[in-house]
Symmetry: none
Subunit: 205 residues, 4 copies
């Protein structure tokens, strides 16, 4: 918005973005309480006050991190659904993509999904009833399941509940991958494959 030259130089990342990134890192490392304005300022080599020029609040800062990361995730899921395919294929692709996304962005994943974000993001709510209506990703998931059930490819069951069961299972693997950090890619691939197989078999009529 205020770049001086059009050439995207390395130091061309806006201060606001540098703050955002550093904050995400702190958030991921130790949660909401570990993200302190002091540490944050030190990390990016600015005064504490400087941060407040870019974000009104600690809460605004955290809120932005959450929103940004979440948007990315949603886009990914929607992309997969849009590409089409059988329900099984779409689900499998989704699970695989989700794990890979988490493995590639451990910082955001932790910040977004493994932490109680404090007063700001109020935290992701995935288990409540009605989540399929309120949250895009769950809505999509439930739709695919319903389609599969209608086509006789999946056993009949409460679609939302099933979506949540699938999602939590997938979330569990992603969490462990992120938390343990050092899982070798081949091992990860094997785990993902077994996971997908187990879940898709579980859906069968």
């Amino acid at each position: 918005m205020l770049t001086k030259e059009t050439a995207t130089r390395d130091s061309d990342i806006s201060t606001a973005d540098r703050i955002l990134e550093a904050a995400g890192q702190l958030l991921a490392e130790g949660g909401y309480e570990a993200l302190s304005m002091r540490k944050l300022a030190a990390k990016i080599g600015l005064s504490q006050a400087a941060i407040y020029r870019h974000y009104a609040d600690k809460d605004e800062l955290v809120g932005r991190i959450v929103a940004t990361g979440y948007a990315e995730l949603v886009a990914m899921v929607e992309g997969i659904a849009a590409k089409g395919g059988s329900p099984e294929e779409i689900l499998a692709a989704n699970i695989a993509a989700y794990i890979e996304w988490a493995a590639a962005r451990p910082v955001i994943f932790k910040a977004l999904l493994l932490r109680e974000i404090g007063p700001a993001g109020a935290g992701v709510e995935a288990l409540a009833a009605g989540v399929a209506r309120r949250r895009r990703t769950f809505g999509l998931l439930a739709e695919i399941l319903e389609r599969g059930m209608a086509e006789g490819r999946f056993a009949r069951a409460d679609a939302e509940l099933t979506a949540q069961a699938l999602w939590t299972a997938m979330f569990g693997l992603a969490s462990r991958v992120v938390l343990e950090g050092e899982v070798p890619p081949e091992r990860r691939a094997a785990l993902v494959e077994r996971h997908i197989d187990l879940l898709l078999r579980g859906l069968r009529p």
Copy 2:
């Protein structure tokens, strides 16, 4: 205010234990950050310094709480396996018990498995190869699966990998229950049931 003679049975709980209990309560109510020595001291009517007579550190205090909780978990899992039953029954009971345990002790769960609490959780490693040999709970899980496969009740597959897939799925649900906190018990029960059903069906030949 406190007894000085052994006679008064009622308040005969050692100070150390009263501290432990109060600390556990604070921990459960608001997490690690909400457990402050100040508040703890006030809660039990002692001076802050007095606590240090009994526990060297905040970390020692928390460590003790966590350790106690973990022992409980292990005992529970072993108890279920010992009680016998079909592999399906044992698995189902294990999953259900695990989730309930997590829901009842969210702080310990977080400390142990989500690495939220400082130096307490040494770091669970669940995804590495060979974990079935190194960790009791995984060993038990793999054994049950192997038995089920041998008996033709489960589809043949790598037992360790399958144990990990099962465990991560179950872990995912437990995590969400703990992280979201406010899931009503009936909802939780429904989720657990669907989860178990999905996973057991997934194992079928």
Copy 3:
């Protein structure tokens, strides 16, 4: 947002004046501490730095407001004396006007007479001997008293001392009105009336 051509008469108030006015408002609402350059800038839709183009300092800004107010006070007192009337009438009018002025400009009053504002109020000295010669307002007051005494309307006494007694009494009421802030106008009027009555009776021979 602001005019660029002289034609648009409506918004032709100089920026400096808009700053002054907004600052006076903030000052009046919450006192010296409530006047922050941040809020001031926001109020007039300028950047903080812009203010410094017009006023070197927060102190200069406040000083200007105070000086303006003080000039007003002096003019008022002189105007009343110039209008003529009996000594009693002039004194009564003066007291009433003083209180009203204070009530209308509490911040300036505080700054000027209660030394509340930083380096602004140079320090009024009213109790020293000889003040009737050094300060205009006291000189006028002493003159009126002397005239009243000469005309036999007031009891004979040291004119300067009497002027100081009158002035401190009046100052006391003004101070309270300003400090308490929320005195309703009718109550204020009643107090002023009683005050005037008491003091004028006290002067009688």
Copy 4:
């Protein structure tokens, strides 16, 4: 409450009291906003945190100062009323004592009466209607006036309003004495005398 030796040694002033005194000084010098926990701690050579062992809040601290000072003042006024005498004598004694008290304790006087004390003491309210019922000192003052009126020594008038007029006048002199600081005692005495004379004459029928 916790002195170690009964002998009142110089260093025997409790920390709590040292805090109180230093705080009163800061309060008097610059008002509520100038009393900062940082400055206060520095002034008494303690850490900031130490203050909070003795006073829960800045507000509690300020509240205590106000309460202490006020109690002293009330005791003085009551003592004078109890000694008896004609209404004129009592009033004269009160005015004189009030000014001397202020001159002797400028710090407390300023803190107590010349500042808007902020959220804590809510400030002295002397001008509101009904203050004679709510505040001891005003009640006493109004009583004396009523007695004088009943005895035909004072002109009939609203007693509360008259009490307020008297009090504000007296308060004005006290304020100036405190604010100007360097008034020589003889001058002060002359001013007090003239003040008393003026006001008592003003009350005459």
